[in-house]
């Protein structure tokens, strides 16, 4: 028999390791966080990282860990655009020179501390600008340092409002994507305009990601016939959302806002709700609405309607296979981006578009300085970047909004997404 003291010691070790595991897993999937900074920029002759024939960019994104898929795409799409253009002769700049643009990318595993150290390393290696990094907490940690060092930290792949809403206070930081708030708002607007009373249940991740969705949604339904009859939250580390769905199903609400960012959990929501006899109209966030990975495994066809939002054409969808932009993207991606990742997420296209926006900014950049770059970057208006849906453009002149202007509410049609007509 093991003696008693040994058992307690063993249990103690187990408890400590268990707590450590909880803490670690609690940190890795955090999709939230805010940051702030202050100060103003100043100009010099030629900034670091730019010569007469080259310019260097840096990025740190999660290339390992649970967010590795989107993180790899965040690098791969941009890399594809830059390399394809370099091979085509290079980028034309506003000062009349043509430069090739190279990209250094580092892995931060979605860890803010690692992201900061990567950022410092890139700045020491004299990158001209830090572009397109994925992640709310990671970018929030970098924001004050970018401000202090006066290094552009721009076109960030995150839907958090913090990076674009106060550009006077954070002049070196700038977001790319429409916010989660906007997505929630678009869905709320649809329900509010239904012309009949609608009941809604909400399920949201217990952090900024979920809260932004709810805030946008609630703002849109205020004063309308839409009533929230049930709400639940979850932690990204949960293994199942069945209890939450069971609770919400008891309301038999007409619609469900499912602000869930974790793929298996979102699939679980779709399978669970229908299996307990609840078939609401479901809204899915743009990052967990892909037909192949979410709707098919979740048997989403059973629901009367599935909504999401979209910005871009989906290059992997056969429906747009003949589109000129899509052909160009697919060919270039096969040659360059596929060396980084082969799994498609929308982030690949977002970061590809980011490449096009950078090209546009370079065209307007009259001096080889970071100041001139920021000025050019913030003066783009009505730019129809490749792969963006009709009606969605790039407008960088708004002082409280990210670069891409507009969002389209779409509805699942059995194979892919099509624009929503009405509720």
């Amino acid at each position: 028999m093991m003696n008693f003291q040994k058992t307690t010691r063993l249990s103690g070790a187990v408890a400590i390791a268990g707590i450590a595991a909880l803490l670690i897993s609690g940190c890795t999937r955090d999709a939230g966080g805010t940051g702030n900074g202050g100060g103003a920029g100043g100009g010099t002759e030629a900034s670091p990282g730019i010569t007469d024939d080259s310019l260097s960019l840096g990025i740190s994104s999660p290339l390992s860990g649970p967010t590795a898929g989107p993180g790899s795409c965040t690098v791969a799409g941009l890399y594809t655009y830059l390399e394809a253009k370099n091979a085509d002769g290079g980028f034309e700049f506003g000062d009349g020179k043509t430069r090739s643009v190279d990209l250094t990318y580092l892995d931060d595993a979605y860890d803010p501390a690692k992201a900061v150290s990567n950022f410092r390393q890139l700045v020491n290696e004299e990158v001209f600008a830090y572009v397109g990094a994925l992640g709310t907490p990671t970018n929030a940690a970098i924001m004050p340092i970018a401000d202090e060092e006066e290094v552009p930290q721009v076109l960030l792949i995150t839907g958090a409002t913090a990076f674009s809403e106060d550009q006077a206070a954070n002049p070196w930081t700038y977001g790319l994507l429409p916010t989660y708030y906007d997505e929630g708002f678009a869905f709320g607007e649809l329900l509010a305009g239904a012309g009949e009373p609608v009941t809604v249940a909400t399920l949201a991740q217990n952090d900024d990601f979920g809260e932004d969705y709810l805030a946008g949604f609630e703002a849109a339904i205020e004063g309308s016939d839409v009533e929230v009859v049930g709400s639940a939250t979850y932690e990204p580390s949960d293994t199942t959302l069945n209890p939450q769905v069971t609770e919400l199903a008891a309301t038999q609400a007409d619609a469900l806002l499912s602000a869930v960012s974790v793929t298996p959990l979102q699939v679980g929501v779709l399978t669970r709700a229908q299996s307990v006899g609840w078939l609401p109209r479901v809204f899915l966030p743009s990052n967990t609405s892909t037909p192949g990975t979410i709707i098919e495994p979740g048997a989403g066809g059973a629901y009367p309607a599935l909504y999401s939002t979209s910005l871009t054409k989906t290059p992997v969808s056969p429906a747009v296979a003949e589109d000129e932009d899509v052909i160009a993207y697919n060919e270039a991606f096969k040659q360059y981006g596929s060396t980084i990742t082969t799994t498609y997420t929308p982030h690949c296209v977002w970061s590809y578009i980011e490449g096009a926006i950078l090209e546009e900014a370079f065209k307007g950049m009259e001096e080889p300085t970071r100041d001139s770059f920021m000025e050019a970057l913030k003066s783009i208006q009505g730019f129809e970047a490749p792969l963006l849906l009709d009606g969605i453009t790039v407008d960088t002149t708004r002082d409280d909004q990210p670069a891409i202007d507009g969002i389209e509410l779409v509805q699942f049609n059995g194979t892919g997404y099509a624009p929503v007509e009405s509720y």
Binding site: M2, A68, T233, T239, N242, T263, P264, T343
Partner: protein, 293 residues
């Protein structure tokens, strides 16, 4: 009332996931007296073997069998090559070694299959059974049935077979067992192998729900350890009952206690567990350890 029963049934189904892994932990503990933190990572790696085979076109059932055999070999191998060197020493260093294995095996899985969660086919159809308004998914039923069968088999193995008796003897007192002519080395390998095979079954059962990725069972492992300890660490029945208990308590607390809700419910079973362990340090089903002086 219907809602209450539904919450309880859901809790049992959730608990079944933790229970499967807890069983493997109990098995290793009974066979070697250790707690294996790498149990989850070994299970995930074996499930990845099935995943790779399925991707190569092998039928699900055959792939599962191969994965279970692989798991047995992996468990026996790790025991023989790595863990053997720390058995009989300080249990704390052995625990740290298994944590090292957890990280190592996770990394190896990721090397081959990446970190992105990927869908995994299920043995059971997606349907549900409706019993008087309470919905039970066929997957949950399947998981629970397999789990119960495994639990009974384990109980029989330890209580009523010579192999089980020998394994218990080895775990209890390796030196005397060796002197009595038991093949201690082989028995330890078998114990780890069986535990790993059981872990693989757990992995195969939960992968359709959690999606397969190297970190798939990291969080489940915390619950599984809690269940194993609450159950008494050496009792298969205790592990399974405690796992169901944790699932149900968590569900009920989230559903019925307003200020706890979804945010704090995770803490409730652990708080209850501490309370129970204070009153009954040997766990719900564990045997009290008595030392003759």
């Amino acid at each position: 009332m219907q809602y209450f029963i539904q919450v309880v049934v859901d809790g049992v189904a959730t608990g079944a996931i933790y229970g499967a892994l807890a069983l493997a932990i109990v098995l290793v503990n009974r066979a070697t007296g250790l707690i294996n933190f790498a149990q989850g990572a070994m299970a995930v790696m074996s499930t990845f073997v099935a995943f790779g085979l399925i991707r190569a076109g092998v039928p699900l059932l055959l792939a599962a069998v191969v994965a279970i055999v692989f798991a047995f070999a992996l468990g026996a191998f790790l025991e023989r090559v790595v863990v053997r060197r720390f058995e009989g020493g300080d249990p704390d260093s052995a625990v740290v070694v298994t944590i090292g294995l957890l990280v190592l095996l996770g990394g190896i899985s990721a090397l081959f299959f990446g970190y992105e969660p990927q869908p995994f086919p299920s043995f059971f159809p997606l349907g549900t059974i409706n019993i008087f308004g309470v919905f039970v998914s066929l997957r949950s039923v399947g998981t629970i049935v397999i789990l119960l069968v495994a639990m009974v088999l384990l109980q029989v193995l330890f209580r009523s077979t010579k192999l089980g008796l020998a394994m218990r003897a080895v775990a209890d007192n390796p030196r005397s067992s060796a002197l009595s002519g038991l093949p201690v080395s082989r028995l330890l390998m078998v114990g780890w192998g069986l535990a790993a095979a059981l872990g693989a079954i757990a992995g195969l059962l939960v992968a359709p729900q959690l999606f397969i990725s190297p970190g798939m069972l990291d969080f489940a492992l915390v619950y599984a350890l809690a269940a194993a300890i609450l159950g008494g660490l050496d009792s298969p029945v205790g592990a399974v009952v405690s796992a169901a208990f944790i699932g149900v308590v968590e569900g009920l607390a989230g559903a019925y206690i307003d200020f706890i809700g979804d945010d704090l419910k995770i803490a409730v079973p652990f708080a209850v567990m501490i309370f129970i362990l204070v009153l009954r340090p040997q766990g719900l089903f564990g045997r009290k350890v008595v030392v003759r002086v």
